[in-house]
Symmetry: C2
Subunit: 362 residues, 2 copies
């Protein structure tokens, strides 16, 4: 067994070692059940406890008000790209803020089910910034406003909550539970779990109950929020193992001090990387300074060859998965909740050494 | 940690202990990767190997011909209830054989997307049998014929493959990999993994490539078989952990002798239970003898009170989850691939003792 590495992957991504060790210790036989969590019937006593624990921990950690339901689903963000317009658009109009690849995909999918108004589209300038409130073009009759809080590929993040008259819908896949959120301002928040909260295969949806029940007739039952709320996420068998892992992650997160502590830590981690970048005449950043992400730092060296050398050299030091997304190239360091400060510090140190080495050589 | 039990749950259900122990040993750090499988980026080298291994093992074990694609998806059977008509019905007609709860749900969902012809509906007589070929009412213009191979709730199973002129579509959630199947006869086979092959959160679809690409316009991208085939199941992040567990299960299954050995074992396991039932004047079976399932034996005692006593007494001997489905009541023993012969023997022995005890008392 090789020593564990610092894993900067954008998702699925690193998890706390304490969480993994607990999962390992309980894997074959959970508590007094005499079986693995993976073998438990989802309607039995043992799994019901895990499930309700996951829900109440999530509600507590993210301060979800009683007006909002928490759903544990399958299908990832990509299924939500269709579920959201099928349930909330009602064949009418919705505003979409396109600030990256995933919000663009969501907007394209929504066009199948109604009219999409682009509140903004920063694609022409390579998605290098988040527009300000007064730049958003909102339509009068929108049923909701959709945005993606953090753009993993481009390393940008919304640092404010948009003001809209329609329901606010947000893809928080890559920054959920990394900071406090006023959930009451949102109609719907969702997140694929595999970046910041649990293994791949679980999607968490937090929805204002008042929004459910307005779906189009052609909406599959398994995508109808009203049906899912009524069945408490168990219209069919839920992704049980991922929900169990979520409870371990949430318990760990609480022990670290909750989302307020996570917010502090994400600023420290990304701060270490941005400090190197801001003091460098070697590395190139595309994301505008006031739009930069706390979760994913994206940058490049002066050449593709040096980018490759950077990534390969880092891997030799146990700093892995630093290659940028195939759309952008370059380098990307994902700095999620489970990344220890030591990992970010090791990367910052490596960056400085790599720059010094390659500047001397010039 | 409590000693492991014999778990007769209908799904999620028991898994081989060797598989669980291997998963435990590799959980924190997989091979030379320095990370858990749960932390691996799905586009990286390590997970790509796991993924292609899962596909090739599945193809080998079920003898899937090259004409058919293997997809690893999320959403369970319930999402397929909608995906199948959205992709294959084309707004036309399809034949549905309703022989239980899940095929009934599939037929109801399909009505949203076209005309459903009921080739049979055994609901009036409590789903106690599988109709014979000459009882099936097939329509002339059906785009496909849909059936559920094994009915977990009612304990019945199709012991023949229906002859149809339209494409054969089959839900094999509860008996896939339990016997050899001539895949070339099918247009589409699918299975929620959580009964017989892997943890909950993975759906395997085996589809004749020629059937893809005829979807309705309103089909979400993530449900379009043509898109999923083109993206090799990775339009978005797949349920990585479940796919990894599938590889361990498939390796175990191969070592046991493959699906031919599983077929022999399922006959032995269910044979032990049916032998007790056939020689009993105490237990009551509803499923007709020639429709009985190899996977789920359903029966009852003369009273609900005795049913409860049976289930509680069995649990005290480490034979758990024997309570029948809430629709039917009674007792159900699910006897999937991972149930050791010793488990079935222990249950048969308990059944005999329970009968003797309660017959003496009369």
């Amino acid at each position: 067994m090789k020593e564990r590495v610092y894993n900067f992957a954008a998702g699925p991504s690193t998890m706390p070692i304490e969480v993994l060790e607990k999962a390992r210790d309980e894997l074959v036989s959970y508590g007094d059940s005499g079986m693995s969590v993976m073998e438990m019937t989802h309607r039995g006593k043992d799994f019901s406890e895990i499930f309700s624990n996951a829900k109440s921990l999530f509600r507590e950690v993210l301060s979800v008000p009683d007006t909002h339901e928490i759903l544990f689903l399958q299908g990832g963000a990509t299924l939500q790209f269709a579920s959201i317009p099928m349930n909330l658009m009602n064949g009418g109009t919705a505003d979409y803020a396109v600030t990256g690849s995933f919000s663009g995909k969501a907007a394209r999918e929504a066009r199948k089910y109604g009219d999409v108004n682009l509140a903004c589209d920063t694609g022409a300038r390579g998605f290098d910034r988040i527009p300000e409130q007064n730049e958003l073009k909102l339509s009068d009759d929108a049923s909701y406003f959709y945005y993606c809080a953090n753009n993993t590929i481009y390393g940008t993040e919304w640092h404010y909550v948009p003001e809209t008259s329609s329901a606010l819908v947000c893809d928080m896949s890559s920054d959920i539970l990394s900071c406090p959120v006023d959930v009451s301002r949102y109609g719907l928040i969702y997140a694929g779990a595999q970046k910041n909260i649990a293994p791949a295969g679980l999607t968490v949806v937090v929805i204002d109950r008042g929004l459910a029940g307005k779906h189009m007739d052609i909406t599959p039952d398994i995508m109808r929020y009203d049906v899912l709320i009524k069945n408490d996420s168990m219209l069919n068998t839920p992704p049980c193992w991922c929900i169990y892992m979520l409870t371990l992650e949430l318990e760990w997160l609480k022990k670290q001090g909750g989302v307020a502590a996570m917010d502090q830590l994400r600023r420290e981690r990304s701060g270490m990387i941005y400090e190197v970048l801001d003091n460098s005449s070697f590395y190139i950043q595309k994301a505008e300074a006031n739009s930069r992400s706390f979760m994913n730092a994206t940058f490049r060296t002066p050449s593709e060859e040096l980018d490759r050398e950077f990534v390969e050299g880092a891997a030799k030091e146990g700093l892995v998965n630093l290659k940028g997304h195939r759309i952008t190239g370059g380098i990307r360091a994902s700095l999620y909740n489970a990344m220890p400060l030591e990992g970010a510090a090791a990367l910052a140190d490596y960056m400085k050494r790599f720059e010094a080495h390659n500047t001397c050589l010039k």
